[in-house]
Amino acid sequence: MRIAIIIGALLTLAALAADQATLDRGRKEAGLACTPCHSLRLVESQRLPRAAWNKELDKMTGWGTKITDRDALLEYLVANYGDDKPPAPPAMSKNGYTPRKQQ
């Protein structure tokens, strides 16, 4: 009984570790695949179900994005930016405006 629990716990840990490795690969893939054309903010500000993320990857592939680790990327997007996650906190830009001097 005790051995079964230990084996079970070890298997669970292994599965989680695998998941984490996949998510890490997915994060790396997001940096490689998405950022040539736009900032990651565009991705990270959205909350979508798996099917919608999958469709976005199809769309971006069609637009010339090179995705080498697609499965990991999808897992990463769903795990972090799924529609079950709370909305992204609004980000603000810093001030870039200098009032013109009166002529």
């Binding site: 990651l40 565009l42 959205q46 979508l48 976005e56 994005t65 830009s93 405006y97």
Partner: protein, 384 residues
């Protein structure tokens, strides 16, 4: 001469911007020429106006929202700039900026709103920038009429559309941003090639030459215009089909549309928003002004009502004086809360055609045209 200096400053500024962006998406960036804005995407720029800035009829450029589909093109040389006018015309033209300035100039006050403004309110969530209230602004646009340019080129009477292309190009195989406009709207006296906006020519907003299609969704108003072609058929590029289309028949929320049952968006619905107080703000138990804006595409705003009790009773607000098609009206309501506690404030606009803002904005797969009655919650606390 002043151009050379401006060009240098712009180049330096964009260089500084690029190096900031290169540090990664988690860094906060400053957008040259803009006050702090809600940042949806910093490359290319997708910036939302915080509602606290909507307190003037003309939205200042330093807080005007920005929606870029593609990266901004390199700064356009005003000396070598040419606008190609071609397609179904008898005299194809290559117009300089001076040529455009010599045509009769018209000032058009018009509100411009991103087609997806309010997408963040839709449930279930849909892909796209999660704009809330602030992908909208009102400006005075000035320049020659598109109709004068088309007449000068001898446009063929059987041409039914114009294609408008900007200088921006897509990275990798991202489609080019080209929009089609039906000829009757292109020939409308208020449809202009703006050479300025509130008297300025900000590159980030599409100058030196930007198409302005008053009363239609912002995506119609193509930036950095370099080509106008008269055509027999509507353009079929991505940004006309399937992009920027709306279901002909309302859909159950969360369900896909049949591509054949999606239509090009023309015009905009009636809409109002509450800009002060802000949602979940705490205010004192004393007289307060509730403020906001309302607009109705090609119509003018007739009336804006406010409810401070969750929509049970409605009262008329005070409207700003200019009652124009295309341009918004600001509204205000002096309110003295009866007591402490939580209040649900709602605003409802009616336009000159009798359209009234709905309680429910129809869900659609791209999250366009959000115009539900606006609603904010405020907590009234005892005055200090």
């Amino acid at each position: 001469m002043s151009f050379t200096r401006r060009h240098l400053v712009a180049t330096l500024a964009s260089g500084a911007f690029a190096s900031q962006v290169a540090r990664g998406a988690d860094d906060t960036v400053a957008i040259p020429g803009k006050r702090p804005m809600i940042l949806h995407n910093d490359r290319p720029e997708d910036l939302e106006t915080p509602v606290r800035y909507f307190d003037s009829w003309l939205t200042p450029i330093e807080v005007f929202f920005v929606r870029q589909h593609l990266p901004r093109p390199p700064a356009i040389d005003l000396e070598t700039y040419r606008l190609a006018v071609n397609g179904m015309v008898s005299k194809p033209l290559q117009l300089t900026l001076e040529d455009l300035k010599k045509l009769p100039q018209f000032t058009v006050p018009a509100t411009i709103e991103c087609t997806g403004n309010g997408r963040g309110f839709y449930s279930p969530k849909v892909p796209g920038i999660q704009w809330m209230r602030g992908a909208i602004g009102n400006a005075e646009w000035r320049g020659p009429r598109v109709s004068d340019v088309l007449k000068m080129a001898g446009v063929n009477s059987s041409a039914s559309f114009i294609d408008t292309d900007g200088a921006d190009v897509g990275l990798a195989s991202t489609p080019d941003f080209v929009r089609s406009l039906p000829m009757n709207k292109a020939m409308h006296p208020a449809t202009i090639l703006a050479l300025s906006m509130n008297g300025q020519t900000p590159d980030i907003h599409g100058f030196p030459v930007r198409l302005i299609v008053p009363g239609w969704d912002g995506t119609s108003s193509v930036k950095w215009v370099v080509r106008i072609s008269a055509t027999a058929q509507a353009n079929t590029g991505f940004f006309m089909n399937p992009g920027y289309r709306y279901p002909k028949y309302p859909l159950p929320p969360g369900t896909p549309a049949k591509p054949a049952e999606l239509e090009v968006i023309e015009g905009m619905p009636v809409k109002s928003c509450i800009t002060s107080p802000e949602d979940q703000e705490k205010i004192a138990l004393e007289p307060t002004t509730i403020r906001g804006f309302a607009w109705a595409g090609e119509n003018a705003i007739e009336r804006v009502e406010i409810s401070v009790d969750g929509g049970s009773r409605w009262r008329d607000t005070q409207l700003s004086p200019k009652k124009l098609p295309f341009a918004w009206r600001l509204w205000s309501f002096e309110w003295t809360p009866a007591d402490r506690g939580y209040y649900t404030l709602m605003s409802r606009a009616t336009d000159t055609a009798g359209r009234v803002q709905p309680i429910v904005s129809p869900w659609n797969p791209s999250g366009y045209l959000w115009n539900a009655i606006d609603r904010v919650g405020v907590t009234v606390e005892k005055s200090a």
